[in-house]
């Protein structure tokens, strides 16, 4: 396929997945505030820190209040990673490959975009009740994912779609894990308290994995939650699962067998996956959970650059017509 089209579908997919993840952790934090009243339930700062856009937030908002954080993450068009901004970018990319993706997918994205633009015109409503908006964002993404599985040919375009989705999700799950690092407990004595467990449970809910976790591990334990979110083989939002799937898509695109590399993208991808596949959770804790997630994010960033160099080239579009 055209390099430009591959680029567009990869980014369309990443931006859509990003909206879904923002909606997920926003929603969970909202529920946490309802479940745990008071100072230690109202923790909005970690959300901003973990998105990586903390400096932008601090420059434009006076304080890390619930209102400000929700606005920043949803309707703020100046934040390039707000749900609204991601949707604008996703739709722009979809527009460029409207001929390649199924009409149903284009229509779903287009309608999603119009819904969000409309909803974000009234940010107050989202701030007062983020649940409804977040639910829409999640459901619409599930629908788009369903369209991709059910009516797209699993060809090169689909593989770039899948790779983008999986890399974005791996990155976001690592950030969700990291949220806990920044969440405060009243004192060291509260480790293992109800509040602590509520926070760990919230992480599972953020990725929609609470039930899957219960089936696999039963009791909430910090080690198992982290093991589940990072190393689980079956859960489709665990970091290892996502990266393995991304690697499969990458190698299906190039035709190179897994285990070998012929270009920078395969090299980087192989290094991340190998590192993760053959590490125990104990080793990750030894390294430090925060240090580990930081490192994963940096490597995924690096991989993104390698993918760009290997497959895409940016081309300016300029209007000039001879239409009659």
């Amino acid at each position: 396929m055209l390099s430009r089209d591959a680029d567009s579908i990869y980014w369309m997919s990443r931006y859509l997945e990003r909206t879904s993840n923002i909606a997920r952790f926003l929603d969970v934090n909202w529920h946490l505030t309802l479940d745990v009243p008071g100072q230690f339930g109202e923790q909005w700062k970690p959300l901003v820190i973990t998105t990586g856009d903390h400096s932008d937030f601090e420059a434009r908002y006076a304080q890390e209040s619930k209102e400000n954080v929700i606005h920043f993450l949803t309707a703020d068009e100046k934040n390039p990673n707000s749900i609204l901004s991601c949707l604008i970018a996703a739709r722009q990319n979809a527009f460029a490959i409207r001929d390649t993706i199924p009409t149903e997918m284009w229509e779903a994205i287009n309608v999603f975009y119009h819904y969000s633009v409309q909803a974000c015109r009234n940010p107050r409503k989202i701030i007062n009740d983020p649940e409804k908006f977040c639910a829409e964002v999640k459901w619409r993404n599930l629908m788009i994912g369903g369209i991709a599985w059910d009516i797209m040919a699993q060809d090169e375009a689909w593989r770039f779609f899948r790779m983008g989705r999986m890399l974005e999700r791996a990155d976001k799950t690592s950030r969700i894990v990291d949220v806990k690092y920044f969440m405060l407990l009243p004192s060291i004595a509260h480790v293992g308290s109800t509040l602590d467990y509520a926070q760990w449970g919230a992480l599972l809910r953020a990725v929609g994995g609470f039930q899957a976790y219960r089936h696999a591990f039963g009791k909430i334990s910090p080690t198992d939650v982290v093991r589940f979110l990072i190393l689980d083989h079956d859960f489709p939002r665990s970091i290892l699962y996502c990266l393995t799937e991304a690697q499969i898509s990458l190698h299906e695109i190039t035709g190179t067998r897994i285990g070998y590399f012929t270009n920078p993208a395969e090299l980087q991808m192989g290094q991340i996956c190998a590192g993760l596949s053959y590490h125990t959770i104990e080793e990750i804790f030894e390294q430090g959970l925060h240090e580990f997630t930081d490192d994963i994010q940096a490597r995924i960033n690096h991989l993104g650059k390698a993918i760009f160099d290997t497959f895409f080239s940016r081309i300016p579009a300029i209007d000039q017509s001879a239409e009659q």
Binding site: M1, L2, S3, R4, A6, E77, I88, Q92, F95, A96, R98, D99, T100, T103, W106, E107, N110, V111, Y113, H114, V117, Q118, R121, E156, I253, F311, S313, I315, P316, A317, I318, D319, Q320, S321, A322, E323, Q324
Partner: protein
Amino acid sequence: MNSGLNFNGYDTGSFFDEMFDSSVSPRPGTRLLVDKIQSLEPEELLTRQAAAEKVFFDLGITFSVYGHEQGTEKIFPFDIIPRIIEARDWEHLERGLKQRILALNLFLDDIYHQQKIIKDNIVPREIIETSAGYFPVCRDLDPPRNIWNHITGTDLVRDESGNFMVLEDNLRSPSGVSYVLANRQVLKKTFPQVFVESGVRSVDNYPSLLLDMLYSIAPAGLGRPSVALLTPGIYNSAYFEHSFLAQQTGMTLVEGADLVVHEGYVHARTTKGLVRVDVIYRRIGEDFLDPRVFRRDSLLGVPGIMEVYKKGRVSLANAPGTGVADDKAVYAYVPEIIRYYLGEDPIIPNVPTYICREKKQLDHVLENLDKLVVKAANESGGYGMLIGPASTRTQQEEFAGKIRQNPRNYIAQPTISLSRCPVIVNDHFEGRHVDLRPYILYGEDIQVIPGGLTRVALTRGSLVVNSSQGGGSKDTWVLSS
């Protein structure tokens, strides 16, 4: 009473109405539709109109409204009442269009080769050589099958007696066919029953016919040729059409920068390296096609592509250079062109046209600016026009100046009382002027798509149907019998 969404009290005025005769009885082919509409609750029709508009909106068949906030988009105005063309009328149009396309192609091939028509004093040399659509660099090119104008969208109008006339030939890069297909998809949902019972001819195989035509002009000796549609990009006003046609035919939608000339052939830049392209349906003007041959500042084209084309290693539709045949000054000579090459009288006449480079005709035009429509020869899309009866003295004087300065660049035509169709205006019907743009493909043979884009001037009394000037569209039903 006369209000409400029915035709009681509908006024055809002094115009030819496409739906009703002068005593406001339905024409033979429209009776089923009229009866259906008369039987509906008034709200029902508005509900269907709104549903149709929602389909266009959700599919993103829209344009951005500038100066508004993000996401302010509008659909191109669409009226759900179809325009119906009787089988007999269509048969006449089809013959006339085939004749015209055949003659125009012979004309193009002659102009870029021996120029017999100039030597025989049928068309003045000056008209050709001063035409913005004439490219000397295209002399002696031999496009496959000697076909130049593969895709044409001819603008037809109907006068107050119902006679069809050709208003314009669009042989460069006519747009709008995607709306023919989209309007039809929507209208099938709007009036499913009447649609089936009326025996409406299908337009849905246009993408297949287009693809067949493009295959038929591919360089010889290829298995399945690789076909691309070259677009100026996502900001182009016709981008929806480009992506739609690419999607419907499976051709690759490319921008100039996706293509590169390498080792004597045109290639696309893909994730797997360079891949050859054999046929290009170009939706950019030839002046932007190759900065080495045409405009040097063009960033939309492919440097070196004309050299590949000359060697027959890539095919282009339409062939570069076709614009000379839709120059409005050349248009005035088309009836003579038909007689010259085919020895036949034109089946569909031109609108009577004054050529301003002829002194006597110029004087007549200047004296009657308040009655005539004046058009710049090399403009399209409704730009560069003076509509005499609707103009002010100042505008007329301004135009007189322009015409005197460059008479060759202007033609003038009497104001035609275009035919009208009923459209929904708020809660009732009113007549609005329409034209018709059928699409003609020229590959192994000439095919006229049964239908076309009916463009509507939505402003009361207006004669300007162009979408850039507030026009809308309707589905066009050609009846099979």
